[in-house]
């Protein structure tokens, strides 16, 4: 029996998952997400892990493999690091074995990843270094509208006449939003419009990876945004898009990276142990 921790250091939040790996049986013991806000992400990652271990009566010494992902390459205490697409792919398969592609949408990035049934990355596309249409963008919009992140998803789904927007700057969006508000456009319609345009952008990435069928697993923090997921589901339903896929999410989607890291950590641990055995044997 092996215990592993996966730590996903993001730009918006730190996610930690604790697993017990037993052959091909994986048991998820604990999880925790912490928004970074204006804190030091690396310190936060370490603290969060320590807390989760403490809560479960464990110490770092009890852990066989501490795997980081995201921006965690330089964390001293890790056993190994895996890159986000590798871990999100694995996490997506864990959350939904039928996933054949992943849309990982986080605070600053969007990634479309085509995978096989084992979670191997076959092809990918990433958004550019512009935060327009990212999670941070949505967070800013919510602030300007005076609503909380958690309200976004539901509000968006109440829209009756979405106001279509095209790529606006995450920082300058404030003016546009204020302008829309002053034109008496309702928050649901504003949000839905933004979700549609974000969704289209993400679906374009997805198409570029040549995904044609199977489940699309939305991972990352924006999977919590049911409005965005709904907008994408409507997008793929449009026959114009000529894809035969289904958009899926999971309440634990935000942990996909941490899950993947923990599971790959377990896998590597066994490989390393085998190697060590080999060495001992020879």
């Amino acid at each position: 029996m092996v215990k592993t921790v996966g730590i996903d250091v993001g730009t918006g939040a730190v996610k930690v998952a604790l697993f017990e790996v037993n052959g091909d049986k994986n048991e998820w013991i604990a999880k925790r997400v912490e928004r970074i806000r204006k804190r030091d992400p690396y310190k936060l990652a370490e603290d969060t892990m320590d807390e989760i271990l403490k809560d479960n009566g464990l110490t770092r010494d009890d852990i066989d493999y501490i795997a980081t992902t995201g921006e965690g390459e330089s964390l001293e205490f890790h056993t190994g690091h895996f890159y986000s697409m590798t871990t999100h792919a694995r996490g997506a398969i864990y959350l939904n074995p039928d996933a054949r592609s992943v849309l990982d949408v986080g605070a600053l990035h969007g990634r479309a990843i085509r995978i096989d049934e084992r979670g191997k990355v076959l092809e990918y596309r990433m958004t550019s270094q512009c935060a327009s249409g990212s999670g941070q963008f949505l967070e800013n919009i919510a602030r300007y509208l005076g609503i909380t992140l958690e309200e976004i998803g539901e509000l968006s789904q109440q829209a009756d006449d979405p106001e279509v927007v095209s790529g606006i700057c995450a920082v300058l969006a404030e003016t546009d939003v204020i302008n829309m508000v002053s034109r008496s456009i309702s928050a649901p319609n504003i949000l839905k419009g933004i979700h549609i345009s974000m969704g289209n952008r993400l679906l374009k990435l997805l198409r570029a990876t040549k995904v044609m069928e199977g489940d699309v697993m939305v991972t990352g923090g924006l999977a919590l945004d049911t409005g965005l997921v709904a907008a994408m589901a409507e997008g793929v339903a449009d026959p114009k898009n000529k894809v035969n896929v289904e958009i899926k999410r999971h309440d634990d989607s935000i942990y996909a990276g941490a899950i993947g890291a923990a599971l790959w950590g377990g896998f590597r641990h066994e490989k390393l142990a085998e190697k060590a055995d080999l060495r001992k044997a020879s």
Partner: protein, 449 residues
């Protein structure tokens, strides 16, 4: 009296200039553009009218012997008290509106506590207002939102804690209320406010109590002058959204070019870094635009870039420049995007880099982007004029001066404390020209390349 008004609807601030037949600037007004543009235009115009009244008062009082040598003190005293009146009026509005929002089924269990907390908060804010407008006092900003908002947050957070109330709910009603309040132009009744301000001033400084007639007559006379809006020209980012007829709209490029030329006739290159765009303009000896470049709608490289960074660091924009000037080395910023730069900033601070060094790097980044826009517009020709909000930032100015010198040699650099009004000034001049029947320069939306 015939008045010509130019209104520059900037992305962050809206500015108005009021000019008479002789091209003398009588008044200027500014407000932030967070509200809708109609309101912003109305407010800035109203502010320009108020400032015009002061100019007229000034002219009227010059003849009064009792105030000899004290005209300036008197008028600034009057203005302070006038501002206080305005502020209190808006504060009351904010209070009422916030309480109105607390009346939401979502808050039904907390409503009472919320109202109490709000009342307590606003009572403190009102208290705090008087010293803020005391002689010699400095205010954090000229805009209601900035002053009241900052105080509201700190005060209500404390009060909420004491009352064991969730602070987020107060913030939530405030966020909603401030948008409404900002969208309401302050009440008319200028004379009333002037009169009340005068009363207050006299109470606070009895030396100005020189007989009713001497003071109130010229004031009433000056207030009696009708300010006729002969021609109004709108320009700036928000101009197309305005109910201005097409022939009342001028491109912001042309207005900035002309405005800069009026301030400094020898100007050949103008750089304007505003809230949402950066423009470099080349003008000839007559103020005619020869070439220009603008950035597209990306916050990287304009005022909002620094504003966003200031938010990230929990600082005011005005504090950025002074801190950056303390840097001993300039960090190289890798991210172009503002949001990514914010994340980079966080990383770098986490890794132990000094705040001032990173800030200096961010300032350099914005100026480098401006340098590239200048270069695309045709470089720098003597004299060079720097306008827009960022020209108030000393670190940005230092960096710009350095780069201009390194790349274009010895060049006269003009920065006017009132440079934020450059576009409005050009607009007012166009208004005067238009009233005289000269329509050159009328133009639709300018394209950026």
């Amino acid at each position: 009296m015939k008045c010509y008004i130019g209104i520059d609807l900037g992305s962050t601030t809206t500015k108005a200039i009021l000019m008479d037949d002789n091209m003398d600037v009588l008044g200027q007004g500014i407000t932030n553009s967070r509200s809708n543009y109609d309101t912003a235009a109305a407010i800035s115009k109203q502010e320009a009218m108020i400032s015009t009244r002061f100019t007229l008062f000034h002219r009227a009082f010059e003849q009064i012997s009792q105030l000899d040598g004290k005209v300036d003190d008197f008028l600034s005293g009057l203005e302070r008290n006038f501002r206080l009146e305005q502020y209190l009026e808006q504060l009351k509005d904010l209070q009422d509106t916030s309480i109105g929002f607390a009346d939401n089924p979502r808050f039904k269990d907390q409503k009472k506590a919320m109202v109490e907390a709000l009342d307590a908060t606003f009572a403190e804010l009102e208290q705090a207002a008087v010293p803020m407008f005391a002689p010699g006092a400095e205010r954090k900003s000229d805009f209601f939102r900035d002053i009241a908002g900052g105080q509201f947050m700190s005060t209500s957070e404390r009060i909420a804690k004491e009352a064991d109330l969730n602070y987020d709910v107060l913030l939530n009603v405030y966020d909603k209320a401030i948008i409404e309040v900002e969208n309401r132009p302050p009440g008319g009744d200028l004379s009333g406010k002037f009169t009340r301000a005068l009363d207050k001033l006299v109470t606070e400084a009895p030396e100005f109590n020189v007989g009713d007639a001497e003071i109130s007559k010229p004031i009433q006379d000056a207030l009696g002058v009708e300010l006729e809006e002969t021609f109004v020209v709108g320009t700036g980012y928000g101009r197309v959204r305005l109910p201005f007829p097409k022939d009342h709209i001028r491109s912001e490029i042309l207005c900035h070019g002309l405005g800069a030329h009026m301030m400094y006739p020898e100007t050949r290159t103008v750089l304007d870094i505003g809230g949402q765009d950066t423009k470099a303009i080349q003008v000839d000896g007559e103020g005619i635009v020869e070439n220009f470049q603008m950035n597209d709608r990306c916050a990287a490289g304009c005022g909002r870039y620094l504003g966003y960074i200031a938010d990230e660091m929990n600082m005011g924009v005005h504090e950025l420049g002074p801190l950056a000037s303390k840097a001993t080395k300039v960090a190289k910023i890798n991210s172009t995007c503002t949001v990514f730069a914010g994340a980079e900033l966080r990383d770098r601070l986490a890794l132990g880099e000094k705040r001032e060094d990173v800030l200096a790097g961010l300032h350099r980044a914005i100026i480098l982007r401006a340098m590239s826009i200048i270069s695309r517009s045709g470089g720098v020709t003597d004299q060079f004029t720097f306008t827009g909000g960022v020209a108030n930032n000393e670190a940005a100015v230092t960096e710009l001066k350095k780069l201009i010198f390194e790349n274009y040699g010895e060049v006269t650099i003009n920065i006017d404390p009132d440079s934020i009004y450059t576009g409005a000034l050009g607009g007012a001049a166009f208004a005067l020209r238009a009233a005289e029947g000269d329509v050159t320069g009328a133009e639709e939306e300018q394209g950026a390349a």
